[in-house]
Symmetry: C3
Subunit: 330 residues, 3 copies
């Protein structure tokens, strides 16, 4: 499908689920967070919330029985792949996993357009993970069936951003009026870039806390200024922690620093410990896209504000919602 | 199962599907195109056509609910593996994928006979891809459950040949009376060898167009002469293009030529472009087993005569038919 | 879940299957054979026997419909992985396979506790294969959902031991009073260690027949002496063959011997041939955990006493039973 804007007049996603081939997402691709306006987000999250309740009540249901999802991963990602697979299975659908793409016909030189046009002969929707920016847009240009971008290199990973925002909504029951602090590597993390864009559909304050060399790119800050989003930059978590409703942590990788001493100097400032949590709001939530490697002390895991494993679970519901929507069932 | 001849008195495959344990394919292996006589082919294609209509109407149905297919791939083949998996899933069955065989007990030295006898403890049918000629016959000798050959080295790939022939039948509504032109590497391609054999069950003319060093092997031409099939050899597509109903293109690989200059000389003669199509019949179909690497210009893809992606889809129906048949449900 | 003792007052596993959230195994981990007392074993095997009958009658049934099993294999094991997958599918459940763990987030440095806590967001039960002793206990400590140990290095492989014992029970209709002879490498084989432990819950005689350097470890013999199990050691199969009811063969690996000549001297004494079988009891059963590499001559396969492929099939029923039990359905 050609990429589309998903805005418009989303219909109310009340139960019961069923055929909604006139629904605004039916047959559409999910390629970028830029496709989503506020009304679209509210629609997706309303469906995702219903999915959450359905899973809690019955585990799985047969909304997508008879549908097949091709999961085409040109690079491994256990978390994302498992989440999409579980999402399809909990909706009664089937999954074809193509994980070892390096050994397959791609390695014989087949082009991505040919691969997706082959797969859509068998499957109803294609989930694509690819190391190159723009791969999912290319796939969507050739595929007639819907394509969902599960990450294309340093480009986009829209379902991650959607699940991040859904986590905030489900945990705190609102997005408007919140103060969100993003911590760590804000330069290279596509996760925080996409989340910042989605947050700017709402009325939020965003704090960026990063080492000098890993600051949020100026073009994103300008883009959000254009939306009227209030943004603050800081090298120091302490100055904003007490006001923070959502603390979103990303990994500061040693390899980003030319001088290892510099890394040693800053790294402790970006590690979350029980002491950090002691100075945080009582109902703050702590998020992380995972995997973590030391940025959050395991002693924090038992803190009820540690939302990063629940975040994974919310990802399941968001992906269930998107699959049902592009297949015309929500 | 021991390999068998599938000829005989196939019963008419009218709906509804159901238990047909007295059906001629029940419990049988599918190892070679040589098992199939004309009546068998007509039976398979009648069932495959019903599968096509069922998929168009309902997507999946539960004909093989409760059955498990073990997909045992000793070498990767995304296309074939995905197609069999989708075929089983669209019939309501389950799949066990064993793809990384190089790392499994085979690498500990387990023999193929032991592996298939283990798998049939869990599964109802075994689909086997193996780099060695005769592997599927060996597997079938030891397995009590049906074995379907999904390609054994330079040996056979019978389901590919069946889907090629089914494509011709579905696209042109007949096989008798057609002129089929095979183009490219006719020496090493098991695909064209098997298809030529199946075509000789019908009343067709076959043109072979290949570089001198990649000509169709004499033993196949003699075998088909014995069947009374009219065959012509040529180094030139132009001389036969205007009369061609089916143009079957295969890849001419640079590595086949000792002298790279020789490859450069011939390669353009084996590339299909919109200009080629302009000189072809209005209802000719253009086929290719895929993956292609330049033999067919992407500008041809939008030509309605380009049947190579539809060919993949026909493969789904043929494999659904074979699975249902060997499991006694058609 | 924290590891638990599964002893106690198991309820009778009569049909029909159904919700048994007060059942003794509901929500429990399966980590070690040491969890199982005689009453537990009888319970497991009664359920496994019912599974066998159900599969024979209907192939699959929907006892675990709506449940998802995450199959997390840090090292390949086709046999075990396929068996668990088939077990879940025959119960109507779904499977998420995570096989290429070396390429996944684990290789990015994610810890096993984080991986299992992520997977349990999507799945209802985790089956774990890992090269390190204690991995499954660690996983179970962090996971809230049940963890089943599918082999942790030279540690335990409890479902293998359970299927071995179930094979004996199903084939010979009893365990008490039998003479079991273990042959081959008894020093390094976790299989025979675990089986010996389980057998000591019953009233059996065990013969150990091994080369001097591969004898059963003293600590296991002492442990079983403590249980009152009668045990005999011998370097010679002939002296015990005629009294043997169960002959359990394991592979003697050349690499275990410092001196290759020594290997050549002993190896024939540990190979089973039709001549061996001619001197065995008429209703003896011959077992092997597979894969075999020459320890049992293929000419023995057709002997009805050769139980090693049936053993694989019994494994399916035991794993179906365990899955149903920990998920509260038996």
């Amino acid at each position: 499908m050609a990429p589309i804007s998903m805005s418009g007049k989303p219909q109310s996603p009340h139960l019961p689920f069923g055929d909604r081939q006139n629904a605004p997402f039916y047959g559409k691709d999910v390629l970028s967070v830029k496709q989503f306006e506020r009304a679209d987000l509210e629609y997706v999250f309303a469906v995702a919330h219903e999915m959450r309740e359905m899973v809690a009540r019955v585990g799985t249901f047969d909304l997508l029985k008879g549908k097949i999802m091709a999961s085409l991963f040109y690079e491994p990602s256990t978390r994302t792949s498992s989440s999409f697979t579980a999402a399809m299975q909990r909706l009664g659908g089937c999954v074809i996993n193509i994980n070892e793409v390096q050994y397959s016909s791609v390695s014989k030189g087949e082009s991505l357009p040919d691969t997706v046009r082959t797969l859509e002969c068998y499957a109803d929707v294609i989930v694509l993970r690819h190391p190159e920016v723009g791969a999912s847009a290319l796939a969507a240009e050739y595929a007639e069936k819907p394509v969902i971008n599960a990450g294309d290199g340093i480009g986009e990973h829209p379902t991650q951003a959607l699940l991040d925002l859904f986590t905030i909504l489900e945990e705190l029951q609102r997005v408007d009026g919140l103060t969100v602090t993003m911590l760590g590597d804000l330069k290279y993390g596509r996760t925080v870039h996409s989340l910042a864009r989605l947050l700017s559909c709402f009325n939020v304050n965003i704090n960026y806390v990063a080492p000098e060399i890993l600051k949020m790119p100026a073009h994103i800050i300008e883009e959000l200024n254009g939306n009227g989003t209030e943004q603050t930059q800081s090298g120091d978590l302490e100055s904003v922690l007490a006001q923070t409703d959502v603390l979103y942590v990303t990994r500061v990788q040693r390899e980003r620093f030319e001088n290892p001493d510099e890394y040693e100097t800053v790294k402790d400032a970006y590690n979350i410990t029980p002491q950090t949590m002691a100075r945080a709001k009582e109902n703050m939530i702590l998020m992380h896209p995972l995997p973590r490697v030391g940025e959050i002390d395991m002693a924090v895991d038992k803190d009820p504000r540690a939302a990063y494993f629940r975040q994974m679970e919310y990802g399941l519901y968001v992906r269930m919602a998107l699959l049902a929507m592009v297949l015309g069932k929500s």
